[in-house]
Amino acid sequence: MTTVNRKIIAPRPHPETEPFWLAAGEGQLLLKKCGDCGEVHYYPRAICPHCLSGRTEWLTASGRGTIYSYSTMGKAESAYTLAYVTLDEGVTMLTNLIDCDPAALAIGQSVSVVFVPTEGGPPVPMFRPA
């Protein structure tokens, strides 16, 4: 089973991403949606990367998604699994897969978000098999 055996580096929020990390502390995964073009994007920006509109709004994600790709690296206790997870909202995010047997993972598998504590910062969104 991959659990989190390493110290997670704390994210350093920028002014425009503080709401994301505050929500993470409350167990919610936020995305950004553009008030002009309607596109959802990740990682969140103040400016929509699709149309450069400044009218971006926070959207609470379901926290559900599927594995797009993954790779387990490291030996035994230090092993961890890097992954891209495609959220039900359509965006794909870099993350880790935890609480799983890496050998049993598969692309397309359903996963759900879990927030994992970091070293002196807000928790970060990782995923485990749903």
Binding site: R12, H14, E39, V40, S71, L82, Y84, L94, N96, I107
Partner: protein, 387 residues
């Protein structure tokens, strides 16, 4: 404005060292500059343009111009990781075509092996907007490329054995290179049975870590034709960035799918015309994806294309990385772009090792992927021709 035949590569030099215990990074840059000048039959005073990337110490162009005592009127420090020298050759050709310089020096050098530098990605600038959304998850070069391999296997049925053929081909070439770090010919079985580094990539799917470097000199046609060297013309080039696209991630292709067609269009040639290919080989998967994206085979067919020795000189349809490449020869400064250009120049001049020299090699491609294939990278493609 096209750069086709507006500039020629007149000098090329690869540093023979693979572990530079007693050479500084600046010294390595200067060594390769001197080597390329000697190769071209030019002197330091002829250089009026200088190009280097993030592997150069200090303030890049400014620091190295000072160290080497150059007097230049054009500089470019475009940074795109390991593909940078390929972009630099293209930018040098543009600068020459625009009259900004006549003789451009491009250098790359580093000593990560002697310095025992970590393979972890460089400590990021906290102002970088993506860092807070990536660093906590510990992305490394190896697992970022491994995720591309995993997805390719899923989408197209590519196998570890097919990827292994890329290393096998490189090792067949490296056996003839006395400077290569890994000169032993390996088998598909040896590659897939080597320790797993980042699933599904094995140790032998990865390039070496080495010191050293290289340089090329790009000059305007009149100067090239006045020198007593074979003529290697820059025919076309392309460059393109690719990233996670704000969440629209697609790992099945690289930015070479954009830089490649641009280079072919400018050169006015097709992939089937290419006699030799230098393909960035940080990992076996890097080569496979480029082969597809540059049009040497259809998307998804890279695995079948590389199998059975198709990349081996004298055996296969598309000889690649005949110096042994990053997979077996060297990967100076953790950047493979310069050595890709240098081996293409050797092939076009007929100066590759006789066991791997491609007959009548009149058209070659050098392709680079700098950065990390699964997150953000920059592809550079240059097409070179012998006259």
């Amino acid at each position: 404005m096209s750069i086709k035949r507006k500039a020629y590569i007149v000098g090329a030099y690869e540093h023979p060292t693979r572990k530079a215990d007693t050479l500084s990074v600046a010294r390595l840059h200067a060594d390769v500059a001197k080597g390329a000048l000697d190769d071209a039959g030019l002197t330091k005073a002829d250089i009026d343009g200088y190009f280097c990337a993030g592997d150069a110490p200090g303030l890049g162009t400014a620091s190295m111009v000072e160290y080497m005592g150059l007097k230049v009127r054009h500089m470019d420090s475009t940074e795109s990781g390991g593909s940078a020298p390929i972009l630099h050759v293209a930018h040098a050709a543009q600068a020459i075509a625009a009259g900004k310089c006549n003789v451009a020096l491009v250098t790359l050098a580093g000593r990560p092996r002697a310095a025992a530098a970590s393979l972890a990605l460089r400590p990021p600038d906290p102002d970088t907007p993506d860092v807070q959304f990536e660093l906590p998850f510990a992305p490394a070069t190896q697992n970022l490329y491994a995720m591309v391999a995993r997805r390719h296997m899923h989408e197209f049925g590519t196998t570890s054995e097919q990827l292994a053929w890329i290393k096998v081909a490189a090792s067949h070439h490296a056996q003839h290179n006395p400077n290569a770090m890994l000169r032993q010919v390996v088998t598909v079985e040896e590659v897939v049975n080597s320790p797993m580094v980042a699933d599904p990539l094995h140790r032998l799917d990865c390039c070496v870590v080495s010191d050293g470097g290289g340089a090329v000199i790009v000059a305007r046609p009149e100067i090239a034709k006045s020198l007593n060297r074979p003529l290697v013309a820059v025919l076309g080039a392309g460059e393109a960035p690719k990233n996670a696209a704000a969440g629209k991630v697609d790992l099945t292709f690289s930015a070479a799918a954009w830089s490649g067609p641009a280079a072919f269009a400018e050169a006015g040639v097709a992939p089937t015309d290419i006699r030799y290919a230098s393909l960035y080989d940080s990992f076996t998967i890097t080569v496979l994806v480029q082969l597809e994206d540059l049009g040497f085979c259809r998307k998804g067919e890279g695995g079948r294309f590389v199998a059975d020795g198709n990349l081996i000189a004298g055996i296969g349809r598309l000889p690649f990385n005949t110096d042994g490449g990053g997979l077996c020869n060297n990967h100076p400064a953790n950047r493979g772009g310069m050595t890709k250009i240098i081996e293409a120049v050797r092939q076009l001049r007929g100066e590759a090792h006789e066991k791997v020299q491609v007959r009548n090699c009149d058209l070659a491609i050098a392709s680079g992927i700098g950065g990390a294939l699964a997150s953000r990278h920059v592809a550079g493609t240059v097409i070179l021709g012998r006259e």
